[in-house]
């Protein structure tokens, strides 16, 4: 889901997952990295110890530090230190980190026969920072308040999945009735009633909306200043709307109830609003407190990678990560000439993925992609390449197809892109595509829009451009949140944000999506998502360009770097500075 980048909130998402996703999920060709991930950056020296202050140097502030408003993958990085959720991501290196594990709950949830009802039981001895017990009523309340218009920002799944979710307006306007589809039989049990089978519900329960919020402590939009902690740290200071955030130990957090968070440092000092160049410079110099510093949202840029070059000391402190994400060329097949499959195929053949990858920052920051799904097992990755363009494109084959399509004399089309400087949907990528298509006799005119206008065009089902740059990131590591919003015909939204750009409404595809959603065996589901991706890919409804890679620098004194295939970033709950 992640796509816009400029909105702060979105960026916050992008931060907590995507960009922040910078460090380490490893691709097949990254086997070496994977092996070294645990012993990768900062592996030197003795075993990790408790104590010290970890500094986090970030670009985007932790604004909206309210569990109802955060849009995270797996509960986010900094937020996950304060908010515990029913389930959470497995804090392990590599592919094992893409698993979902229990957090506040005793298990991943008990589904009924058709996976439309999920029941959770809380662990014993769970307490808030003030020592009062955590109850399921507070989890229900936390979810309900995420429906309030004042607290907008989270992911859409709760509204889409819970019975009555589409019309519920939150606890401030419901006259105390609450949302009936969340049932709390007792203080330890909670039951969710869904509109249709959702085998991946345990993944959703990792998001911060599933963190408990005591109703008596709810202060509406001001709750973000001091949200009540259920995790190993509590907010000691929050200034400038999350620009600086000081977290201290929550003495009422019992490590015996939490197998995932290590919480080595005594304090976490989050400083944001810094320029990417400054963050990387400070991490590389690592002087004073910066030696015990990490970033959860800033990647190394191409120029910085060029600089690190052959500096072994610096290179040893760079972590590599992959987050489920794809950048692609999208078509609107309702617009001529993209209604002609041969034209779409010709473009797929003509694309030069080497220049595109270079424009995205080079082979260290992007991997050429021919599949929509990221190259990770958790997503159900199944390799396919229906229109082999080779490394630098096949203009001859493209010309041939254009001739068959009736465009023997060439073709002029418009490519819509954004002006954001993100090396994703930005002018660099667009001009690389423009150049490659020129070789196949296709003249591409560029239409660059400011970020908001670009997103609105892209998401407007009635006015979608014929040909544009787009991108998609996973809310959790599975094929579901990757393929369903993009290719499910029933998710075409005509009066809001539509992500099914091709407006594909194929009964067979829809039926298969429903069938997979019923599976609670996630491995079996993965295989079928992969097969579905391949089947859709053959229709050339889009041209996958690349999957981004994240390169993250850590300070000299940072130990126990863990980077999972879920977030692709260094997991802040595992880091030690002593």
């Amino acid at each position: 889901m992640r796509q816009s980048q400029i909105s702060r909130r979105v960026a916050a998402v992008a931060v907590s997952l995507v960009l922040a996703g910078g460090a380490a999920a490893c691709g097949p060709e990254d086997a070496a990295d994977k092996a070294s991930a645990g012993g990768g950056p900062g592996a030197s020296g003795s075993a990790p110890q408790k104590g010290g202050t970890l500094t986090v140097l970030n670009n985007e502030p932790q604004s909206d530090f309210d569990p109802a408003r955060l849009y995270t993958s797996g509960g986010g990085n900094v937020p996950s230190l304060v908010f515990r959720t029913l389930t959470t991501r497995n804090r392990e290196d590599g592919p094992a980190g893409a698993k979902v594990v229990p957090d506040l709950a005793t298990d991943l949830g008990r589904p009924n026969a058709d996976a439309t009802e999920w029941t959770y039981t809380l662990k014993d001895g769970l307490k808030y920072e003030d020592g009062s017990p955590i109850t399921t009523a507070d989890i229900k309340y936390g979810i309900e308040r995420s429906f309030a218009a004042e607290l907008s920002g989270g992911a859409p799944y709760l509204r889409d999945w819970l019975v009555g979710g589409e019309t519920y307006e939150g606890p401030y306007k419901d006259g105390g009735k609450g949302l009936d589809s969340i049932v709390v039989p007792d203080a330890k049990t909670i039951v969710f009633k869904l509109r249709k089978p959702e085998g991946e519900f345990p993944f959703l329960a990792t998001q911060t909306q599933f963190a408990p919020v005591p109703k008596a402590k709810d202060t509406g939009v001001k709750y973000e200043e001091h949200p009540v902690s259920s995790g190993p740290y509590k907010v000691a200071k929050n200034t400038g709307d999350g620009e600086t955030l000081l977290l201290e130990r929550n003495e009422n957090w019992d490590p015996k109830t939490d197998e995932e968070r290590k919480a080595y440092p005594d304090r976490i000092d989050v400083r944001s609003g810094l320029d990417a160049a400054v963050i990387n410079q400070r991490l590389s110099t690592s002087s004073g407190p910066d030696a015990a510093a990490v970033t959860t949202d800033t990647n190394l840029g191409p120029a910085e990678l060029a600089q690190i070059g052959d500096n072994k000391e610096l290179a040893s402190r760079v972590g590599t990560g992959h987050f489920g994400y794809v950048n692609y060329l999208a078509f609107n097949p309702k617009v001529a000439p993209f209604d002609n499959p041969k034209v779409r195929q010709a473009i797929a053949y003509a694309v030069n993925r080497t220049s595109v990858v270079n424009a995205a920052g080079g082979s260290a920051l992007a991997e050429p992609a021919t599949t929509f799904l990221p190259e990770r097992e958790a997503f159900g990755y199944t390799p396919y390449d229906p229109f082999p363009a080779g490394k630098t494109g096949n203009p001859a084959k493209a010309k041939e197809l254009l001739k068959e399509a009736g465009f023997a004399d060439g073709l002029t089309i418009t490519l819509t892109h954004s002006n954001a400087q993100n090396r994703q949907t930005s002018p660099e990528i667009a001009t690389a595509v423009q150049q490659a298509l020129a070789a196949a006799g296709i003249t591409v005119k560029l239409e660059g829009l400011e970020t908001n206008a670009f997103n609105e065009r892209r998401w407007d089902a009635k006015n979608t451009p014929g040909f544009f740059l787009s991108r998609w990131g996973a809310d959790w590591p599975s094929g579901g949140p990757f393929l369903a919003p993009i290719f499910d015909g029933r998710q075409i939204v005509t009066n809001g944000s539509n992500y099914n750009h091709a407006q594909l409404n194929d009964p067979a595809v829809n039926a298969e999506i429903d069938e997979i959603a019923k599976l609670t065996d996630l491995a079996a589901a993965g295989k079928r998502w992969g097969a579905l991706d391949k089947k859709i890919g053959e229709q050339a409804l889009d041209v996958p360009l690349f999957h981004p890679v994240y390169k993250r620098l850590v300070g000299k004194g940072v130990k126990n770097v863990v980077i999972s295939d879920w977030t692709g970033v260094l997991d802040i709950s595992q880091v030690a500075v002593k």
Binding site: G153, T167, V221, D241, D275, R282, G496
Partner: protein, 330 residues
């Protein structure tokens, strides 16, 4: 005098009103739906509608503008959820779509950075600019003067971001005398505050210094040409003494007045310098606001800038009048 001040004040208010209306109108023509922007990614239509209602975006544009003006003069209330009513005191510049914050609060938070930048630049141009100007007035026709001419021309010609970039490149990347600047608030650590602002100060101060050197020099020379100075000279008073004790007075009024104008303009945000050095001031806030079409922030910053410039202009006139009695108030 009172009449003069009142007239200036009235004109200033009109300028500000026109400015806010123009920016407001402009941004309603801009692409982008504020409700969707405020709602965040993947909002469903119902949610967007709720947010639109909450932000009062269903009313006509003139109504919204009037409400905005009312907020500036009298303050406004917002629903904060959980039965909470947030009061935004006058001058309330509205509520940022992007940051979920009151614009006034946001701007007040950014003001110290901009103020710090302008203050340091002011010191530099007063010391270096005026100093060089006086020096060249003493040694007319010498090497100093020729150098001054060249440097001034170069300073007029260089875009500020080129000097800033080159300084960053030389001082931070190659010589490594300073780390890459990060703004540190004065209250947190005055020493770090100064070190980190040094490069931006030098960048801005350099240009302004050249301008002030010229101004100082020409005003001093004008005074030197006046009758009473000739009399002093005839009595055998040395050239240096003439300049430092007498002629310098001629430069005081224009330098002070122009400083007021420049300082006001800089409070309004040195957009390029702030962007280049990542200083979280008004200028950077504005650029970020424009990029995401965050109307309340843009209107707020433009009004603040306008106010600063207008006040500075008025102060300059008054200072000029006080410092130089010969100028009658028009």
């Amino acid at each position: 005098m009172t009449g003069f001040v009142l007239r200036r004040l009235g004109a200033a208010l009109l300028v500000l009103l026109a400015l806010s209306a123009v920016v407001y109108a402009l941004f309603y023509l801009a692409p982008g739906d504020p409700a969707r922007l405020a709602c965040g990614e993947r909002c469903n239509p119902q949610q967007i509608a709720q947010v639109r209602e909450q932000l009062g975006l269903n009313d006509s544009v003139p109504t919204q503008y009037l409400r905005f003006l009312q907020g500036v003069l009298a303050g406004r209330d917002y629903s904060g959820g959980a039965g909470l009513v947030l009061h935004c005191d006058a001058p309330c510049l509205g509520f940022s779509y992007q940051n979920d914050r009151q614009v006034t609060e946001l701007l007040l938070e950014r003001l110290p950075a901009t103020f710090s930048l302008a203050l340091g630049a002011l010191v530099i141009w007063l010391v270096i600019g005026v100093g060089t100007g006086l020096l060249s007035a003493v040694r007319r026709g010498g090497l100093t003067e020729r150098l001054l001419t060249v440097v001034t021309l170069a300073a007029t010609g260089t875009p500020v971001f080129i000097l800033g970039l080159l300084l960053l490149m030389a001082v931070c990347a190659y010589l490594r005398w300073l780390p890459f600047p990060t703004y540190v608030p004065f209250g947190d650590d005055p020493e770090q505050w100064a070190w980190n602002l040094l490069l931006p100060w030098v960048t801005l101060g350099f240009f302004e210094s050249a301008k002030y050197a010229r101004l100082t020099r020409s005003s001093t020379l004008e005074t030197l040409a006046e009758d009473h100075i000739r009399t002093f000279r005839a009595y055998g008073v040395g050239e240096r003494a003439l300049v430092t004790r007498h002629a310098v007075r001629g430069a005081v009024a224009p330098v002070i007045a122009l400083s007021a104008v420049d300082f006001g303009t800089m409070i309004g945000g040195a957009v390029l310098t702030e962007s280049l050095f990542g200083i979280p001031g008004l200028g950077k806030t504005l650029i970020d606001g424009v990029r995401v079409v965050d109307l309340p922030v843009v209107v707020g910053v433009v009004l603040t800038i306008g106010t600063a410039v207008v006040i500075a202009g008025a102060v300059a006139d008054l200072l000029y009048a006080v410092a130089d009695r010969r100028v009658a108030l028009a």
